[in-house]
């Protein structure tokens, strides 16, 4: 059997608590995005298009959901005779189980998995980024420079640079310094959390790091600084294009809006780089004579009788007559009743919004659903609940369980 040149390991994140109720029952990478995708579809599709067919997905929480979503890997063309895609939760070893202590520890715990494929390179990726990238270019660059590790970087606005891990490089692209969230950034080249390692080198560093009790076992905090200190050859690979970390409600909302901007900030209409997903088995969407839809994306299985403006509508959604949604993200199988008016609202999978419900329109000092996680007016409503008719939900709310709180007749 031919050896596998490069294995990809996707760090599919911790509990994702900054996404609030969206990750109550769901691993972050499985959160819906862009009408018919899950967040992880982007990274998986990038792997497939880059010819990387052995992929491990490292996740702490709810591995079961992710396992059944990913299934045999077929939707991403990752149902392979050799390799394919594996969900790798931390499993019980000798006496007790261990959380993945940090990103580096997650890879460390899966050294036996990687060794099975005897790769030359390991591509370390993050499961909560939205972007399209051909990793082959980066791997080619890595081979050319002969580096121990190559780190993808992109230019960020100077004023935001202090929120990122910043790479300082010499004129050849060699990394000379790494600053994690620097107050005074020396450059605006931010690490995207995408690494190509020589597996042999990485393995050594992982083993050493594991033996250091003071380590956070994290790539950004430990592995990369240690390699820098040991003067390993480290290069930055310049990425140009759209890239977004969707770890917060705000950024998730923004990224969804980016695909319906005109012209789109992030264009998914690209036949050469399709984003694969487990497609819903639904007929085309129906748009009634009364409907009005502009600046939005709508997908299969929807029935639109109302008004949709600048919104992302997922599969199987019904929007009844007279309902208006604006700047919203509607997850799959939501039902929005007649006359409901929603603005800047994210509605979780399977939720029913009663008739004449209002959401995200007014502010209130006395908001029972107020949440620090929701700002900029965004409302987040959990999946699989019912919001009764005539309820009003104020801006900056997160509705986990709904209890009638006055405001209208049933």
């Amino acid at each position: 059997m031919a050896r596998t040149e490069c294995v990809a390991m996707i760090l599919a994140g911790g509990q994702g608590s900054r996404l609030g109720v969206l990750t109550d029952d769901l691993a972050k990478p499985a959160v819906p995005f862009g009408g018919k995708y899950r967040i992880i579809d982007f990274t998986l599709s990038n792997c497939t298009h880059s010819g990387i067919t052995t992929v491990g997905v490292l996740t702490q929480y709810q591995p079961l959901d992710l396992n059944t979503y990913i299934g045999n890997g077929g939707p991403w063309d990752l149902d392979r005779n050799i390799g394919g895609v594996y969900v790798l939760p931390p499993y019980v070893r000798m006496k007790a189980g261990e959380w993945y202590k940090g990103t580096a520890n997650a890879i460390y715990q899966n050294i036996p998995f990687i060794e099975k494929f005897d790769p030359e390179y390991v591509l370390v990726l993050s499961g909560d980024h939205i972007y399209k990238m051909d990793y082959t270019n980066m791997i080619r660059y890595h081979k050319k420079t002969g580096a121990a590790v190559t780190i993808a970087v992109m230019s960020v606005p100077w004023e935001e640079a202090s929120r990122f891990g910043i790479m300082n490089t010499d004129e050849t692209g060699r990394i000379t310094e790494f600053q994690e969230k620097p107050a005074q950034p020396a450059s605006n080249q931010a690490s995207m959390g995408i690494y190509v390692f020589n597996w042999r080198d990485l393995k050594e560093y992982l083993i050493a790091d594991e033996q250091d009790p003071s380590s956070d076992n994290d790539f950004g905090k430990n592995i990369i600084p240690n390699m820098l200190q040991n003067r390993e050859e480290m290069f930055a690979f310049q990425f140009q294009g759209y890239w977004k970390d969707v770890g917060t409600i705000q950024s998730l909302w923004e990224a969804n809006m980016d695909i319906i901007a005109s012209p789109p900030v992030f264009n998914l209409h690209d036949n050469n780089w399709r984003i694969y997903s487990k497609n819903p088995i639904q007929p085309p969407h129906y748009v009634s004579s009364d409907a009005y839809i502009v600046n939005s994306c709508i997908t299969e299985g929807c029935n639109i009788f109302g008004r949709v403006e600048h919104s992302v509508v997922s599969d199987g959604v019904t929007i009844e007559k007279g309902a208006i949604i604006k700047d919203c993200i509607i997850f799959p199988n939501v039902h929005i009743g007649e006359g409901a008016i929603l603005e800047k609202t994210i509605v979780g999978q399977g939720t029913t919004i009663g008739k004449r419900v209002k959401s995200g329109i007014r502010e209130s000092g006395d908001n029972p659903y107020a949440s620090d996680l929701c700002s900029e007016g965004i409302v987040l409503i959990k999946g699989d609940i019912t919001i009764d008719e005539d309820t009003e939900i104020y801006k900056n709310s997160m509705v986990r369980t709904y209890q009638r709180i006055g405001g209208g007749e049933v």
Binding site: H269, R274, N279, I281, P283, P284, V287, A291, V294, N295
Partner: protein, 371 residues
């Protein structure tokens, strides 16, 4: 879950204008993202059938491309699964035969090797969602030798006298059967869907071949009506029979009706089709869509009314598309006006183009045309 094999005849002798020039009828695109064969094939799969043979006659490369390995129907199986059974073409040109008996006879080996007790033989040109569990229950409880499926409200273009008409007594038994009768004695149209035991099917075919016969309805069923217990199952659901450009157009537009859609797209019995990984459809700032079915992957900048828009279609600004069927990846550039047009795949209508057909004479644009 029934224990039967399925056989789909993908190519009966129906020609639908240029639409079937290079594809079999069963491969005809319909309802925005399907091919005709998806309906009968999904019906079989949803009834637990895991061995389906598709018998093409000619021009089946688009059918092969559509069905692929059968993955989308979960029919990429080790035993059975989906198999395309091309006619045997020798170093001369035998094997295409003259009728459906010849086509079924040519796959006798496949039928013989199959292990299911029963066999369902069906044409591939009906739009319907039928539960074969019910047909099987009917077949068994009537101790039927052969069960024929009929419908009394067939949505078709052709007159009753163009079909095979059944006479059925109160015990569900077929007492008479006429192929293309001058004066139809009932409205019970045989849907060319039959269920029988696999061995018995093979026996009937062998016998007919030995006698040099060609047509299942005329040469087998009609002759056996009095000697066998042939029963008729009344399928009460919606059936659109695609047998002309008229019925293709009408049955397409009928899917805009909510009740028809609910019957065909029952979530417990989904219609599967080839997955294309299209993005959701984008609506621009001036989009205006009314009473239409829109598949994924489209960009809608203009107006669409009473139309079926397939995957990957582009409709430009100020374009007006009414009463049209626009197939996959066609491009309607800015300012076009289209009315009553059936447009095959990958057509381009250039800026401000006008194509106006009539309900009684929809305009057909062939695949890949640039207008």
């Amino acid at each position: 879950m029934i224990h039967a094999m399925g056989l789909i005849l993908s190519d009966n002798d129906i020609h639908i204008n240029t639409l079937t020039e290079k594809r079999s009828v069963a491969a005809l695109p319909i309802a925005g993202r399907y091919r005709l064969i998806d309906f009968i094939l999904s019906s079989m799969v949803n009834s637990g059938i895991t061995n389906v043979g598709v018998i093409p006659r000619l021009n089946y490369s688009s059918l092969m491309d559509h069905l692929g390995s059968g993955k989308e129907w979960d029919l990429n199986r080790k035993n059975g699964g989906l198999q395309i059974l091309p006619p045997y073409i020798g170093r001369g040109m035998h094997g295409l035969g003259e009728g459906n008996i010849d086509l079924v006879a040519a796959v006798g080996g496949h039928i013989k090797r199959s292990k299911q007790k029963h066999a369902i033989l069906a044409d591939g040109n009906n739009v319907l969602n039928i539960d074969f569990d019910d047909v099987m229950d009917f077949h068994l409880s009537n101790h039927s030798d052969i069960t024929l499926v009929y419908n009394e409200e067939l949505q078709t273009d052709r007159a009753l006298s163009a079909h095979t008409i059944l006479e059925v007594d109160q015990n569900n038994r077929v007492t008479g059967m006429e192929v293309r009768p001058r004066r139809p004695k009932s409205k019970k149209v045989f849907l060319n869907i039959m269920l029988t035991e696999r061995n018995f099917l093979q026996h009937l075919i062998d016998e007919a071949v030995a006698r040099g016969e060609h047509d299942i309805a005329r040469d087998i069923l009609m002759k056996k009506v009095s000697r066998l217990n042939i029963c008729a199952y009344d399928f009460k659901g919606y059936v659109g029979c695609i047998d002309s450009i008229r019925s293709y157009y009408d049955n397409s537009i009928r899917i805009l009706n909510e009740n028809v859609r609910k019957e065909l797209f029952n979530p417990n019995r989904p219609i599967y089709t080839k997955i294309k990984d299209q993005v959701p459809t984008n609506y621009g700032s001036y989009a205006s869509v009314h009473n239409s079915l829109i598949a994924d992957g489209c960009t809608i900048e203009g107006e669409v009314k009473n139309s079926i828009i397939f995957r990957g279609v582009y409709i430009g600004k100020c374009a007006r598309v009414s009463n049209c069927i626009v197939m996959q990846n066609s491009v309607i550039q800015d300012g076009c006006e289209l009315d009553h047009v059936v447009m095959d795949k990958e057509v381009i209508v250039r800026e401000s183009g006008r194509l106006i057909g009539d309900y009684n004479y929809p305009m057909i644009i062939g695949k890949g045309a640039v207008v």
